[in-house]
């Protein structure tokens, strides 16, 4: 039978010749990732009563959500994680200095094409940018995986999304995924996998594919996968030996839905409060006053995101009524941005640069909103209360739109490049 990429990876990791959508299988993941919530996973692991984790080499723990610790409670959790990784010989532990977990996973060779990866974070779907099948689970479930090395999974149906054509200047993969969210809705891919195809996708670098797979989760997707190609290989060359096994979908594989998008028709998009699928073209939100702009996160904190935003801000000043927060996705991106002069541009324009981490995206710390305030962010969620007060509002956009808004103090009707 012909199969999709998700079906092939799940068949391989469950030791079956083939698997079919709807089937419940038991799979052995290649890697598992937890961040600060490893503290909760450890608590559950102790409650199970196992002495040793299934395989310390397959567990990766980067601290990123509340770094450096914003409270004594977090400090205690971080301490318990540092003690646990020593006790269990977990070598792939990245302390507070390294960056956002998903970026750290992809940058440091922990994601290989064709792998099945689980993480205690919903945006674990991001690793589809390197043709892996990866998804989020809860802390109790992770504790069970640490104890047994196994998980039950339902084999998902797959949605095929084909995107062709060239983006207009100023239009980015973030605008594409926001557009898709508006079109397919926040439930449009519930329990399903997404595969991306088309000339646009082929021309998007791993960084932008990361953005697409990251926010596919907001449509409910279990996996979001960009098939392995020359771009994937190029990205991985410097990071690992080519001893991985990518899977390609069979040409006649069965898809539950097919969508074809013309990228050349796309314009910059905005998600309005308080739903990720409340998406409109930029000009329909133009003129809305903004108090804070956040550029960063696992969705848009990579070097090209920072570069595009800095180019908009060059020789300009952030509005006196706006607080612009810039958060590089990882230490390595931070270093690169300094070497390229990007950080200088941000600082000269009046931005506040925060250390790599999640901070304001989930309302943990560093940029909490007061009642009545509005934020335009390049992050992934605009739920009520997400960034602090339940009476605050969060809008989502690309880094180019966010940087433009920071200068004029309101959502722009166009971006400088378009």
């Amino acid at each position: 039978m012909p199969h999709t990429i998700a079906e092939k990876i799940l068949a391989f990791r469950s030791g079956a010749r083939e698997v079919f959508p709807g089937e419940l299988i038991t799979a052995r993941p290649d890697k598992v990732m937890s961040h600060d919530n490893a503290g909760l996973v450890i608590k559950h692991f102790r409650a199970i009563g196992s002495e040793k984790v299934f395989d310390p080499a397959k567990i990766i723990i980067p601290l990123d959500h509340r770094v450096p610790a914003e409270s004594e409670r977090t400090a205690i959790a971080h301490k318990s994680i540092r003690e646990f990784v020593k006790e269990q010989n977990i070598e792939n532990f990245y302390d507070i200095r390294e960056g956002i977990c998903h970026q750290v996973m992809v940058e440091n060779g922990h994601v290989r094409p064709g792998e099945l990866i689980l993480g205690t974070d919903s945006h674990t779907t991001s690793y589809g940018c390197l043709a892996a099948a990866s998804t989020g689970i809860g802390a109790t479930e992770m504790a069970a995986v640490w104890a047994t090395g196994e998980i039950w999974l339902r084999v998902p149906e797959t949605i095929r999304i084909e995107v062709n054509g060239q983006f207009k200047p100023g239009v980015t993969p973030k605008d594409l995924i926001l557009y898709l969210l508006g079109r397919l809705t926040a439930r449009g891919a519930d329990y399903k996998a997404i595969e991306f195809y088309g000339t646009t996708i082929e021309n998007i670098p791993v960084s932008g594919r990361f953005t697409l797979c990251n926010m596919s989760m907001e449509m409910g997707a279990k996996f979001a996968i960009v098939p392995f190609d020359g771009e994937t290989r190029k990205y991985l060359e410097s990071r690992m030996k080519e001893d991985y096994t990518p899977f390609a979908a069979d040409p006649d594989a069965e898809y539950t839905e097919r969508h074809i998008i013309d990228a050349s028709e796309l314009t910059p998009q905005i998600a309005k409060p308080h739903r990720v699928d409340n998406v409109v073209p930029l000009k329909e939100a133009a003129g809305i006053r903004i108090d804070q702009v956040v550029i960063g996160s696992c969705t848009n904190g990579r070097i090209d995101d920072l570069e595009q935003a800095a180019a908009v801000l060059e020789n300009k000043q952030v509005s006196r009524s706006v607080r612009l927060l810039v958060i590089p996705g990882s230490r390595s991106i931070y270093i690169q941005a300094i070497k390229l002069g990007i950080m200088e541009k941000f600082l000269e324009a009046g931005a506040v640069i925060l250390n790599p981490g999640c901070g304001p995206c989930l309302g943990a710390h560093q940029g909490i909103l007061a009642p009545g305030e509005r934020c335009l962010a390049t992050t992934n969620r605009n739920f009520k209360g997400r960034m602090g007060s339940t009476e605050a509002e969060v809008y989502l956009s690309s880094p180019i739109v966010a940087a433009t808004a920071a200068i004029i103090g309101e959502i722009p009707d166009r971006v400088t490049e378009s």
């Binding site: 919530n37 109790t140 479930e141 943990a364 997400r386 339940t390």
Partner: protein, 167 residues
């Protein structure tokens, strides 16, 4: 787990997300009893105080969308919520609820009920009764392996049994 659950309902809307169920600022809390004090706080600040043991949450489509935080399921369970009935559940929330031993029922009946109505869920017959609206509806059963986790009281006791770690 009780095979027949009867309780007072709280009716919520569509796409009740994890930030509304359990705001991110409380994630560092590790004590489940303390988590319960913030259950559905995003709906309204006094919601946790309104919840009583045995209550049933009834919501529209997309319940639990967003974060992987299992505290969204734990806080409901610890606040005494006996079951959640929704038109559909986001996938990670679904797994988290099962793993905490919180029964879930897929039925789109939120618009037929109001706060305070009494609802009865019968897992023997996979039927829901809501006398206030003189209604009855069948719901799709959970897979046996999934039901077994809920019946064991959640994934931790289920794994302990499997690994022979129970006394």
């Amino acid at each position: 787990m009780e095979k027949i659950i009867s309780g007072r309902v709280w009716v919520l809307g569509e796409d009740i997300d994890t930030d509304v169920i359990y705001p991110g600022k409380y994630l560092p809390i590790l004590d489940p009893v303390e988590m319960a004090k913030h259950a559905l706080e995003g709906v309204s600040p006094d919601f946790p105080a309104r919840l009583e043991t045995g209550d049933i949450i009834v919501a529209g489509m997309g319940f639990g969308c967003g974060s992987s935080r299992e505290q969204a399921a734990t806080c409901l369970k610890m606040a005494g919520v006996a079951a959640v009935v929704a038109g559909s559940f986001a996938r990670i929330f679904f797994r988290n609820a099962v793993n905490q031993g919180l029964p879930l029922v897929q039925a789109d009946i939120a618009d037929k009920l109001k706060d305070g109505d009494i609802l009865t869920i019968d897992f023997n017959r996979n039927m829901i009764d809501y006398p206030a609206a003189a209604g009855e509806v069948e719901f799709p059963p959970l897979a046996d392996s999934v039901m077994a986790i809920i019946e064991a009281g959640g994934l931790i006791p289920a794994v302990r049994q499997r690994l022979g770690l129970t006394e």
